[in-house]
């Protein structure tokens, strides 16, 4: 049975693509699925830092494509989860070192072995984007509630649709509920009405995200973090579980009690 290949993209940089890949990958691996994450951002690799595996890199994506190593040699196993692997990007090469056909072939091969193949797409809509998107069946577009990010997300969705990739989902990152209530930030409803793509989840703005990325431990390992919870729900929805979207993200006292008891 072939697994799912999912690309995480955005158009604009700095909206949280890599963080999303790291967290969703970890959530799915925690659910006992075999997961491989590919960093397609050749020349500007970051996924290894966020996963905290920077110092264990020997081979990379370009080495696999150029046949300098076997796939298994370049895959780095996560420290905590033995069914989670990372293929890092080459830092000293350029996006043109890989072409879309090669990526497609690699993704198809990996999908034979793994349940989920997650691809971290670089910012922009040039060669790097073309490479990252080539092998994917599903796309997740990450945006923040900023006009520029939404404009770019819209462009990217248009390009994906033109590539006949119809399975597109949206994640809204860094939403500040207080600012939305005051009318200072675009609301989830506004964004969805513009982009017209099914919503996978909303991640609230949080300092924890910065802390966890700097430490190299995905947020979903921390219990009780709101942003981590949001990622867990997103991972579950991606896995086909029916979890209602709680757009208000109100955490009541009852929720806290439940969570305390469950954990």
């Amino acid at each position: 049975m072939a697994g799912k290949t999912i690309v995480v993209t955005s158009g604009k940089g700095g909206v949280g693509k890599t963080t999303t890949v790291a967290n969703i990958g970890t959530v799915l691996a925690k659910k006992k699925y075999s997961v491989v994450m590919i960093d397609a951002d050749i020349g500007l690799r970051n996924l290894d830092v966020i996963m905290g595996i920077e110092n264990r890199i020997v081979y990379n994506l370009v080495d696999i494509i150029e046949g300098k190593c076997r796939k298994q040699q370049a895959m780095i196993r996560d420290r905590k989860l033995h069914n989670l692997f990372i293929i890092p990007a080459a830092q000293t090469r350029e996006k043109t070192a890989v072409n879309p056909d090669q990526m497609k072939k690699l993704c198809t091969e990996l999908a034979e072995e793994f349940d989920y193949v997650l691809i971290d797409c670089p910012a922009g809509i040039e060669q790097g984007f073309r490479n990252a998107v080539a092998g994917a069946q599903t796309a997740i577009v990450v945006t923040t509630p900023e006009v520029a990010a939404i404009r770019d997300a819209d462009r990217v969705i248009g390009l994906l649709e033109a590539d006949l990739l119809k399975d597109i989902y949206l994640i809204i990152n860094r939403l500040n509920h207080r600012m939305v209530k005051k009318g200072d930030m675009m609301s989830t409803e506004d964004i969805i009405s513009l982009l017209a793509v099914p919503l996978l989840g909303v991640i609230p703005e949080s300092e924890e995200v910065v802390i966890s990325t700097n430490r190299g431990t995905p947020l979903v390992h921390n219990r009780g973090s709101k942003a981590g919870m949001a990622f867990q729900q997103i991972g579950a929805r991606l896995n086909g579980e029916d979890i209602p979207l709680n757009l208000e993200q109100k955490i009541t006292l009852m929720d806290r009690v439940k969570r305390f008891v469950w954990s």
């Binding site: 404009r151 819209d154 462009r155 390009l159 649709e161 513009l194 017209a196």
Partner: protein
Amino acid sequence: MVPDPAASFDAVFAYLEQRLSESRDFFQHAEMTLDLRGKPVRTDELSKLHRLLVTKGRVRLVEVKLEEDLNLLLDRPTDRRTLPPRIETPPVPDDLALVIRNTCRSGTRVVSQSDCVILGDVNPGAEVIAVGDIIVFGNLRGVAHAGATGDRSARIWALSIEPSQIRIADIVAVPPRGNKPTPRRFEIAEVQDNLIEVITL
């Protein structure tokens, strides 16, 4: 340069030719505006003058002011590039409207030789250009240019008009800042007294 309205064209031409050969360096690459508003001129005379100034005198003719509209004779490549895409000759009337059956996302550009119907939204960053009317069955949030060949009677119809910019023929309008009430049914943008008005229905 303003030639004497009383002098004959041949006299002006001869004088100019003499001055150009005397002081070529002075005229070379100089920018010049030719003002012929006080003097009726025939098309062949104008093109003769233009040829003399541009090819022989190597003058960069910036503008020719005429009584009649003969501006087409000028070659002004720099100006033409900045102008919005414009179809030079009116196209053969073609009643087949262009129908787009999906949302125009950022980066999309739709050009129609007649009317244009969009069954979806026009998002910010998208452009719709039509020689005739533009009809959007959705929200118009991008740029729309109706009557692109200069037809001021062209109109823009949409369920909601909140564009980044709208143009009808040669008139450009930007929406006022601030929130506007949501229309009950649909909105029409049309030209009234040289201004683009958006009417809510």
